[in-house]
């Protein structure tokens, strides 16, 4: 391995240590990642994790950190632990100085006049922002194929999906194009990509990370969270972005727990870990089920008590989610009308009225999946249907919350596979929305209940050799438990594998340079 190769494979925590010790500079690290992006992200078979690369600004921030470090003194002492550690940001999160597209044509070329709160916090920590990552349009999808800018490829198999909607962030981290990334999770958009790319992703407790500046899909479900290669790295990043924000009314006033300390606790002895009966078994790929069993075995050996819990209302969770989410989305996306910013399309013929300009803009600017959800949500909120659809879905939401409350009386942490299958081939489910929606069956309940969830690599499925994700769930505001259990499980698994799972991923540089076997693109981009 070259020196650069070693540098980009360091965890964020390890890189931070080397930066602090002066063994490597932030400019070197940032440049190494930019080189890696140039090497594997573009071209016909490139990963396509990045929609925009922010090289100049990232290097400038890196140089600033290096200068502060070199000068020493109080300012160097005061540097954040992650200062100089580069990061990628999902393109649903607004940034000054870079375009923000939400993966949609309707925002092509739009530059935000303000920074999201989480971006402000990254800047305050002096983390160089490498660029903006690909996603399903407005985060609507489970495969990143619904991006208007083409799909992202899974670094484990370039002909497979990287999960979604945050496939860009997960793939960037898995492909060593970034040590850290931000994602957003409305129904699993951080955790499911984490599962299928062999990375770690966390959906924090609803309200524990500010949503200000995350382009809303479903306001009551959306949550920004960390994407990384290790549990500790996610804890470090979560600690940067979390905490109260007066600009988000749903932001919790509670101070953030010490998540990094939790990730370093190192034991699960006596902890009650609950298997959710409804979230494994039938409908789950055999290889996924096997890795899940392995994880349980390891936790048991480490002293955890494994219990089984039942959440009977989870059978309605997917249905409720696909009413609440589109309902909120139909309203949240109404602002994209061509009047104030973004794409404006004039009708080709006929009267030039505002209604027709709005209509033409939205018809041309939104992709099929977005339109599908807008139509669904508009219908669900309509007079005469509201009670039957939105109203009933809200009741299910309450029932799901009660199921969790009951489960957490007998278990400290719940566990399940993150996704029912490993990564499926690009294009396979593009024409079958219901099959696509089923990917999120295990992740959605946490969003409905507002509780935190973490996905970490559980190994490779026997039948296809692709990563399997293990999901941990904790009660609201108990994110620390996830880091504690996650870090223990991770170290047990890595001991078994003899190193991180990602070391067994294929050599990308060779793969992306290889021949184009199939051309599978986003239908909406064509």
């Amino acid at each position: 391995m070259t020196e650069t190769n070693e540098l980009i494979r360091l965890s964020a925590a390890a890189l931070a240590e080397k930066l602090a010790a002066g063994e490597v500079t932030s400019v070197e690290a940032t440049q190494a990642y930019l080189d890696r992006i140039a090497e594997v992200d573009g071209g016909e078979r490139g990963i396509n994790a990045f929609l925009h690369v922010n090289a100049e600004e990232a290097l400038a921030v890196a140089a600033e950190v290096d200068a502060i470090r070199a000068a020493g003194g109080a300012e160097a002492e005061a540097l954040h632990v992650l200062a100089g550690v580069p990061i990628a940001v999902k393109d649903l999160i607004v940034t000054i100085g870079q375009p923000t597209t939400a993966g949609s044509k309707i925002l092509e070329g739009w530059h935000s006049p303000y920074d999201a709160t989480v971006v402000e916090r990254l800047r305050a920590a002096k983390m160089p922002i490498l660029g903006k990552t690909n996603l399903d349009e407005f985060a609507m999808g489970s495969s990143t194929e619904h991006s208007a800018y083409g799909p992202t490829r899974n670094p484990w198999d370039l002909d497979r999906i990287p999960g979604g909607s945050g496939g860009g962030s997960a793939a960037a981290v898995a492909a060593f194009e970034a040590p850290l990334a931000l994602g957003t999770d409305t129904g699993g958009s951080i955790r499911q990509p984490g599962a299928v790319t062999g990375t770690v992703g966390v959906k924090p407790t609803y309200g524990s990370v500010s949503r200000y500046g995350a382009i809303a899909m479903a306001s009551s479900l959306d949550q920004i969270g960390p994407v990384s290669r290790t549990v500790l790295d996610s804890a470090l990043l979560h600690q940067v972005i979390g905490g109260h924000d007066p600009r988000d009314s749903t932001s919790l006033p509670d101070p953030l727990a010490d998540l990094v300390a939790a990730a370093k606790t190192g034991n699960v002895e006596g902890l009650r870990i609950g298997i959710i009966k409804e979230l494994h078994g039938e409908g789950y790929q055999a290889g996924v089920e096997n890795r899940f069993r392995d994880a349980l075995e390891l936790l048991k050996e480490a002293g955890a008590e494994i219990v089984e819990v039942s959440c009977p209302n989870f059978q309605y969770a997917l249905g409720a989610y696909y009413l609440i989410m589109p309902s909120e989305a139909s309203s949240n996306l109404a602002k994209f009308d061509g009047v104030r910013y973004g794409l404006r399309v004039l009708p080709e013929e006929g009267a030039m009225t505002i209604e027709r300009v709005m209509g033409a803009t939205r018809a041309a600017g939104f992709g099929d999946e977005v339109k599908r959800r807008i139509i669904l949500g508009t219908y669900a909120l309509s007079a005469g249907y509201y009670d039957a659809y939105y109203g009933s879905a809200q009741k299910v939401r309450t029932l799901v919350q009660r199921d969790f409350e009951a489960a957490f009386t007998v278990a400290d942490v719940l566990i399940s596979p993150t996704a029912p299958t490993t990564a499926f081939p690009l294009g396979e489910k593009l024409d079958d929305p219901l099959a696509m929606y089923l990917n999120d069956v295990a992740t959605i309940p946490a969003n409905l209940a507002g509780i935190p969830g973490l996905s970490l690599p559980g190994g490779l499925a026997d039948e296809d050799g692709l990563p399997v994700g293990i999901q941990l769930l904790a009660p609201a505001k108990e994110d620390a438990r996830l880091y504690r259990v996650g870090a223990v499980l991770e170290s047990l698994l890595e001991a078994k594998w003899g190193g991180p799972l990602l070391q067994s991923a294929p050599d990308l540089a060779a793969a992306v340079a290889g021949p184009v076997e199939t051309l599978v693109g986003s239908q909406e981009a064509k």
Binding site: V94, S112, G213, A216, S249, K335, L381
Partner: protein, 502 residues
């Protein structure tokens, strides 16, 4: 132009019973907007008092303005409403370019204040209780200006300009229950109700309450039913009636129009109506049915507003005296008779008189000026007296000049005309127009001699003890001096000259 047939008001009243309903929007005078930190200021350059939240930029979130909540609670309390223990905002979804998010954040089924009433006093002192259904919080929309058309409306316009300065300004919408039993006093009640709301929000200090600026805007619902029938007729909603007189006229007009429609055996169309101040008529707006579907749902970006009972009671304790109590106090303070005071209230100049007295005028002088001079001018100009723009200080200055004998009342009235015409301050106008009471006895005596000589018979009568006949001579002198003489002094001099002692 409008071609709707109307029945005479009297005939309409003979056959039908009007039912009213009002939605009054009050713009709050908070420092910042309902959900953003942008300034809430009227009249600035378009699109300057906006930030990313007001423009509905991607990713933004609303935060409720605490002062707006406080103001809303105060309004609710002043309207004798219950204050919700917990209430939410909802999204009212519709596409229109004055609404940056294409939904309005408004309270829907959970208003902050509900089930209240307001006792409204009519011109003869009758008190009419108007039941308040709710007062809820919402945000204002931006302001559209339609360019290139003849009417200023969107129809026929070439393009429209939008100013988002008003987008997000906090509003409280006060909705009445159906108002029955007003009969032929419905138009008067309409005006009195809106005036009462305006007075309340002004006294609370929560709104600038200037109707001409749209701080208080009224949508007036009118329906008719035959006498004796319980079921309501179909209503029309006349939008944005923005002066007290217009409210009265609009309700009156709609009663007459509905009556004509019903007389013709046709159904009233449920629709909004536009009010035209120039012709004092309404024209058809858009059809409005109860089935308008705004796809309301609870605003997920906001948490419920939960005013603690302690806070509500604190606010209740700070409420200013209710208007009825205030009127009672002012009448006593000013020493007006019941009739005098009622005239003042009905003329809508109570606040103005209060301000004028505060500026230094006596109660009687203030009343004399407002009731004797200004109300008449307002009527002639077809505006509310307050809209003429007469400053209390002007009246105080005029009154002082009269008192000091610099000018007489007739001149003072001319000076007021000058002030209203924008000619300057009273002092400047007196100077410019060369107005001054002639108090030098010399020229007066000459004029008196001439007047006595001209009417020898009158002079004899006065000498004979008919002192009241002196008026004819005074009149002659005043005419000769073109009104510049001090009439009192003239009278004294005449009587002195004729050797009459009174």
């Amino acid at each position: 132009m409008n071609t709707d047939a109307i029945l005479s008001f009297e005939e309409a009243m003979e056959k039908y019973d009007p039912v009213l309903g009002f939605e009054v929007h009050v713009e709050l005078n908070t420092r910042t907007k309902m959900f953003s930190s942008a300034p809430n200021v009227f009249g600035d350059e378009p699109n300057t008092n906006v930030n990313e939240v007001d423009l509905g930029m991607p990713g933004v979130l609303p935060v409720v303005n605490k002062t707006a909540v406080e103001s809303s609670i105060k309004i609710g309390l002043a309207l004798n409403c219950k204050i919700a223990e917990s209430c939410r905002f909802a999204r009212k979804n519709y596409f229109y370019p004055d609404t940056p998010k294409n939904f309005q954040t408004s309270q829907y089924d959970e208003p902050i204040a509900y089930d209240g009433y307001l006792d409204v006093e009519l011109s003869d002192g009758t008190v009419f209780r108007v039941e308040i259904e709710r007062a809820h919080m919402e945000e204002d929309a931006g302001k559209l200006t339609h360019m290139g058309g003849a009417t200023g409306r969107i129809h026929g316009a070439d393009f429209s300009l939008v100013d988002y300065n008003r987008a997000g300004v906090p509003l409280v919408e006060i909705v009445t229950k159906p108002i029955e039993g007003a009969g032929s006093r419905a138009p008067e009640l309409a005006k009195a109700y809106v005036a009462a709301i305006r007075e309340i929000v002004k006294n609370l200090g929560v709104s600038d309450a200037r109707m001409e600026r749209g701080n208080v805007r009224c949508d007036a619902n009118v329906s008719l039913r035959p006498h004796g029938r319980e079921r309501f007729g179909i209503r029309s909603e006349t939008k944005n009636v923005n002066s007290l007189r217009a409210v009265e006229h609009a309700v009156r007009y709609e009663i007459q129009r509905h009556a004509a429609v019903l007389e013709a055996g046709e159904p009233v169309i449920q629709e909004t109506r536009h009010w035209h101040e120039d012709s004092r008529t309404t024209t058809s707006g858009r059809a409005k049915s109860d089935a308008d579907d705004y796809r309301y749902f609870p605003e997920p970006d906001l948490v419920p507003v939960v005013p603690s009972r302690e806070w509500v009671e604190e606010l209740r304790a700070t409420l200013p005296e209710p208007p009825a109590a205030r009127r009672k106090r002012l009448q006593a303070d000013w020493g007006y008779s019941d009739l005098e005071f009622r005239d003042v209230v009905n003329a809508g100049v109570m606040d103005e008189i209060e301000e004028t007295i505060a500026a230094g005028a006596s109660a009687s002088v203030a009343r004399k000026w407002w009731m004797g001079e200004i109300v008449g001018r307002a009527k002639a100009a077809d505006v509310d007296p307050g809209q003429l723009g007469v400053q209390p200080a002007t009246i105080v200055e005029l009154a002082r000049m009269v008192e000091d004998g610099k000018i007489n009342n007739k001149m003072a009235s001319q000076v007021l005309d000058g002030v209203l015409a924008g000619e300057g301050t009273p002092a400047e106008i007196v100077e410019k127009r060369g107005l001054a009471v002639v108090s030098d006895d010399g020229p007066l005596l000459e004029a008196i001699d001439a007047a006595l000589a001209a009417q020898p018979g009158v002079a004899d009568k006065i000498r004979g003890g008919k002192v009241q006949a002196v008026g004819a001579i005074v009149g002659g002198v005043m005419k000769a001096t073109r009104g510049q003489a001090d009439a009192g002094r003239v009278r004294e001099l005449i009587l002195e000259k004729l050797g009459v002692t009174v």
